[in-house]
């Protein structure tokens, strides 16, 4: 990886004339999470070459999900650089097109990557269970937390802080590393979606309790292409695994 660490990934090669699929896992997870394994398996059966890496999150050869209470020194920039590295790796393999599918926080990673790196080989983004950083924390608390963090950054305070983010009630991190993730609120994600040229399609489950109730509406009014899978939760568990696979495959095949 660009940071000198070694990252683990699952790669299955199929037809080189088809676009390669890069699948990004959720917050602090690995490529071995159920949603990623199931999706990879469905796409491989469809003849796609699938690469599912685990972001290192500052841990060489990371094999486990990182606990919220661990020390988080990794930043969004580190993650984006790693995603860029994997896209370039696929380019070297000879693929002419890469589609990125994100799950949960991985969807946010994919959108930020597309907005910042704009690699022309990336032709399509599918953001499943796209999250924002306000849910679980609350808009007011999120704002408050960001103000404290900004203050620490301006004071060059590098001490560790205890924050709330995503499903984590105690996320231990220095302020700058935490800020790199926490700053992405609903408004910023929507403005990113409007600015990127790569086509983005969002898939959400109607029973996803890890997103705000108004989040699908906000995405819809902002003009995002949105598919709602009725009854599915954040992980598209049980029978919804097949609904997700069907939706993703139809979006991938549809040019």
């Amino acid at each position: 990886m660009p940071n000198g660490l070694i990252a683990k990934a699952e790669y299955s090669e199929n037809e080189l004339n088809k676009p390669a699929i890069l699948i990004l896992h959720g917050f602090l997870q690995t490529h071995n999470s159920n949603t990623i394994i199931q999706l990879s398996s469905h796409l491989t059966t469809e003849g796609y070459s699938v690469l599912a890496p685990s972001l290192t999150l500052g841990v060489s050869k990371r094999k486990q999900s990182l606990s919220c209470e661990a020390i988080h020194l990794h930043s969004m920039d580190d993650d984006i650089n790693e995603i860029d590295h994997w896209v370039k790796w696929l380019t070297k393999k000879g693929f002419k097109e890469v589609y990125i599918i994100g799950h949960s926080y991985g969807s946010l990673h994919a959108i930020i990557y597309a907005a910042n790196k704009a690699n022309p080989i990336v032709r399509k983004l599918i953001a499943t269970s796209l999250v924002d950083n306000e849910h679980g924390v609350g808009k007011k608390n999120h704002k408050k937390q960001l103000a404290i963090v900004k203050n620490k950054i301006s004071n060059k305070d590098t001490s560790l802080g205890k924050y709330k983010i995503s499903f984590c009630k105690e996320y231990i991190s220095p302020s700058d590393a935490f800020f790199s993730y926490a700053k992405w609120n609903q408004n910023q994600i929507i403005s990113l979606l409007n600015s990127i040229k790569t086509p983005v399609h969002i898939i959400l489950g109607s029973s996803d309790n890890r997103i705000d109730k108004n989040w699908p509406n906000r995405l819809n009014t902002a003009g995002a292409k949105l598919t709602i899978i009725e009854g599915a939760n954040h992980f598209f568990a049980a029978e919804y695994e097949f609904d997700l696979a069907d939706s993703v495959i139809s979006l991938l095949d549809n040019n």
């Binding site: 060489s60 486990q64 661990a70 020390i71």
Partner: protein, 213 residues
């Protein structure tokens, strides 16, 4: 002459017969008790000898189990992603070893502390937390017992390998455990009072012999 003397005593009175019988019975009883006393002592010595062999066996078993438990914890710590994280980026190592390491899911109540060393065997912290293990190399790996403020502690160390099939190590890990708690955790003693256990400690801090009641 003898006849005359015997005639003087005979016929013997009942009193003399009774006295003779009492003396003989008493002598027989003493001999019987003496014999049994010796037999009991002999048996007790034999039992003590056998018990001390069994006690040594019990202690050896408890120590082997303790070392195995130490090895299990050390191996799980070595495989823990957060240990690898600290090896590569020890900026907040002091906080991590004081807080986070103690919260690892596989840590037991007899775990006291750990220290991580880099590839060259130097502690990744400026402060050497284990004075008995200021640095590590392949010859210092293994286990030993030391006394810390009258408490017995077991040290166990192993090399850190980022992947199981790696031929070279990436660093070292040492752990410190409360030996008394560990012994009681791994073994229910029948012959040994674990509180009385003591170890003869060498000048360099390592254990030489075990003693106990």
């Amino acid at each position: 002459m003898l006849k005359n003397i015997l005639k003087k005593f005979f016929p013997l009175s009942v009193k003399v017969y009774a006295m003779g019988f009492t003396i003989v019975s008493f002598l027989l009883l003493i001999s019987f008790l003496w014999f049994n006393f010796n037999k009991v002592n002999e048996l007790q010595d034999k039992m003590n000898f056998e018990n001390s062999i069994l006690a040594k066996k019990e202690l050896n078993q408890a120590i082997s189990k303790s070392i195995q438990s130490a090895k299990n914890i050390a191996t799980q710590l070595e495989n823990w992603d957060e240990t690898i994280q600290q090896l590569h980026n020890p900026v907040y190592y002091t906080y991590w070893r004081r807080n986070r390491a103690l919260e690892a899911p596989f840590i037991e109540n007899y775990f006291i502390a750990l220290e991580i060393y880099n590839k060259n065997g130097n502690s990744i912290s400026d402060k050497k937390h284990f004075p008995l293990l200021p640095s590590m190399n392949d010859s210092t790996l293994g286990s030993f017992v030391a006394k810390n403020n009258e408490n017995l502690t077991l040290y166990f160390s192993l090399p850190i390998k980022e992947s199981t099939n790696a031929s070279e190590h990436d660093g070292y890990l040492a752990i410190e455990l409360d030996l008394a708690m560990l012994l009681n955790d791994v073994q229910r003693f029948k012959l040994i009072s674990s509180a009385s256990l003591n170890f003869q400690i060498n000048k360099n801090g390592s254990s030489e012999k075990t003693m106990g009641k």
